[in-house]
């Protein structure tokens, strides 16, 4: 192997030599020496540290044998000379650590410079997955704060009707459906002819009086409530909000600043937030199970679709925010037919709908 030897009596700039790595013999024009098998030191060498230096001392002074060609150094690392195995293993270890540290240093710098871009690009590319991922990690307290702030922001434009028979029925049915939930639910009735209901993150459910009046039985109302509650339990509202409001929502949730602009924006979006078909199916199924657990006849759920279909005029608001389809109704009806024990105590609110 071609190497360069530095040492006593040799040119200061080193002596080109031929090194027989197996025997340890080092030869050059006019001399030769031998690589000792003990007492030597090893280090990375060369400006780019791709090479190796083996150094040792004897009576004459210090010697250094360098192999700077990267290919030769690689060969040498694969088969270290006799007696140098441990030094090579040690050097490999520290080099790996240094390389790791260096890589870490550079990646940190690169990440720091590119982070905003990456975040933005990532957000658009995977907004669904990311919104879901973030939504799962927002602490419940933040979620409640967001819902509360949004509700307050829209409260001025809502005519709350929290007294009376209808509101009492909504609260009671709601609390039966949310037994054992981690959220503290609040149910509000709002005077509004539009057939609609919406759920806000953290446990606020708002039902329009128009919806209550459109239902033919309290079980139909229970079906709607069960569905809305599941949008909260499954964090659909939060996820949708994060996806729509994007980075500002993430920022606000991360910093805990959910007041001001975001709350207003959230309130506005909340009413027009439409869920995906998957989310609707999920909320239907989980709502159906919740009705069964609460001992409320789930037949009200598919029945309400028929009620909606019979509504005269344009499509109710509810359908634009909760995409409905024949498939949803049929799926619920199918579920219903597989329920064996169909004896449910009817809900006590009669006559229905209650007088406003």
């Amino acid at each position: 192997m071609q190497a360069r030897l530095f040492g006593p009596g040799l040119p200061a700039a080193g002596q080109a030599c031929e090194w027989q790595t197996d025997s340890g013999r080092i030869q050059w024009a006019g001399g030769e020496t031998r690589l000792p098998s003990t007492g030597g030191a090893l280090r990375s060498a060369g400006f780019d540290l791709a090479g190796l230096e083996l150094s040792w001392a004897d009576d004459a002074g210090r010697w250094a044998l360098q192999v700077l060609a990267a290919a030769d150094a690689t060969t040498l690392r694969a088969t270290p000379p006799a007696g140098w195995e441990e030094a090579f293993a040690q050097l490999a270890g520290t080099t790996r650590r240094h390389r790791k540290g260096r890589a870490l240093g550079w990646s940190a710098l690169a990440l720091f410079l590119a982070a905003p871009l990456l975040l933005l690009a990532g957000f658009f590319a995977f907004s669904d997955g990311i919104a879901g991922w973030i939504a799962q990690r927002v602490p419940q307290a933040q979620e409640e704060a967001l819902g509360e702030a949004s509700f307050r922001a829209m409260q001025a434009s809502l005519k709350l009707r929290d007294e009376g028979e209808a509101a009492r029925a909504v609260r009671e049915i709601g609390s039966r459906l949310t037994q054992g939930s981690a959220y503290r639910y609040r149910f509000h009735v709002v005077e509004d002819k539009a057939i609609n209901a919406f759920a806000m993150p953290g446990g606020i459910v708002v039902v329009h009086s128009g919806l209550i009046n459109a239902t033919r039985t309290p079980e139909e109302l229970a079906g709607v409530l069960a569905h809305e509650v599941q949008h909260i339990e499954l964090r659909h509202s939060l996820k949708g909000l994060i996806k729509q409001a994007g980075l500002s929502a993430v920022w606000a949730l991360a910093t805990g600043d959910v007041g001001g602009a975001l709350a207003g924006e959230a309130a506005q979006r909340m009413m027009s937030l439409s869920f995906s078909r998957d989310a609707e199916r999920e909320a239907d199924n989980a709502g159906f199970e919740a009705l069964l657990r609460a001992g409320i006849d789930p037949a009200g759920m598919p029945a309400f679709f028929d009620t909606l279909a019979k509504q005269a005029g344009s499509a109710p608001e509810l359908l634009s925010t909760h995409p409905a389809s024949e498939a949803r109704r049929d799926a619920l009806a199918g579920r219903l037919s597989s329920v064996t024990n169909r004896r449910f105590e009817p809900l006590p609110y009669r006559p229905w709908p209650p007088a406003p």
């Binding site: 530095f6 200061a12 060498a45 060369g46 090479g51 210090r62 260096r102 240093g105």
Partner: protein, 262 residues
């Protein structure tokens, strides 16, 4: 590519120039701005890259160009070739007071690492490359010394040292600490590291003498007593009306960000 064997002669004492004698068909590469005179028969061409055989293919050329851009070097090298029938001479002059250092690359193992503004000229076939120091500390602290120029081949190369030249031969393990700006060139056998000595605050505001290059033998190092940056600093300081900017020799990222090549 085979190296062209050039004969040369250095003239002057403190303001030197080197005359390179080219046989018919031989060539030398140099910084265009350093050319002083060309005798009859010498032709000058500007080429992309450095004229060595190493930059094969378009990709290689682009890579080389990218590296040169990164270090603030010019993308083009000027090649001087003798198209005549007789020997002819071309001369390159040192840009400021100092010494021209002739280095026969064969005597140093074929590679020389040098400060990026110290290269003057070389025989055709010597490749001008860039070498990055792999030590993180060097990258963070010293612009100078992080990226150096790498001269490879087995011909003659000429570098310039400002002020008075000091050549030191380091025995294996021998350590020498120098101001980063004072390093002209060294053999790749020499371990090179930048050490930060001083307070960060003063480094940011003055950048003077706070970074040491630690050179550890074995091998030969070439040092200059008057780095261009130091000279420039004094001149700028003495002429405030010129509105020049102070350049630190070893200030944070100083060498990365400055670009004193035209």
């Amino acid at each position: 590519m085979a190296m062209d064997v050039v004969d040369y002669e250095i003239f002057g004492n403190e303001m030197q120039y080197v005359e390179v004698e080219l046989d018919p068909g031989e060539a030398a590469i140099g910084e265009a701005g350093a050319m002083m005179l060309m005798e009859d028969g010498i032709q000058m061409d500007t080429i992309f890259g450095d004229g060595s055989a190493q930059q094969g293919g378009l990709f290689g050329k682009l890579l080389g160009a990218g590296k040169r851009l990164l270090t603030g070097e010019s993308l083009f090298t000027t090649i001087f070739h003798n198209e005549g029938r007789n020997k002819s001479r071309v001369a390159f002059a040192a840009p400021y007071p100092g010494k021209i250092v002739p280095v026969d690359l064969t005597t140093v193992g074929g590679t020389l690492i040098c400060q990026k503004d110290s290269f003057l000229c070389a025989a055709r076939g010597v490749s001008l490359g860039i070498a990055f120091n792999r030590k993180l500390g060097t990258g963070l602290f010293g612009g100078e010394g992080f990226i150096m120029q790498k001269l490879e081949g087995d011909g003659m190369a000429f570098v310039h040292a400002g002020g008075t030249l000091a050549v030191r031969d380091l025995a294996p393990g021998e350590v020498l600490r120098v101001d980063t700006g004072c390093v002209v060139a060294f053999q790749p056998s020499v371990d090179f590291d930048i050490q930060y000595v001083g307070k960060l605050k003063s480094a940011l505001f003055s950048g003077e003498g706070l970074f040491f290059a630690t050179l550890r033998g074995p091998g030969r190092v070439w040092l200059q007593s008057l780095p261009l940056s130091r000279l420039a600093n004094r001149i700028v300081m003495a002429a405030p009306a010129a509105g020049g900017q102070s350049r630190g020799e070893g200030s944070l990222l100083g060498g990365l960000l400055d670009g004193d090549n035209e």
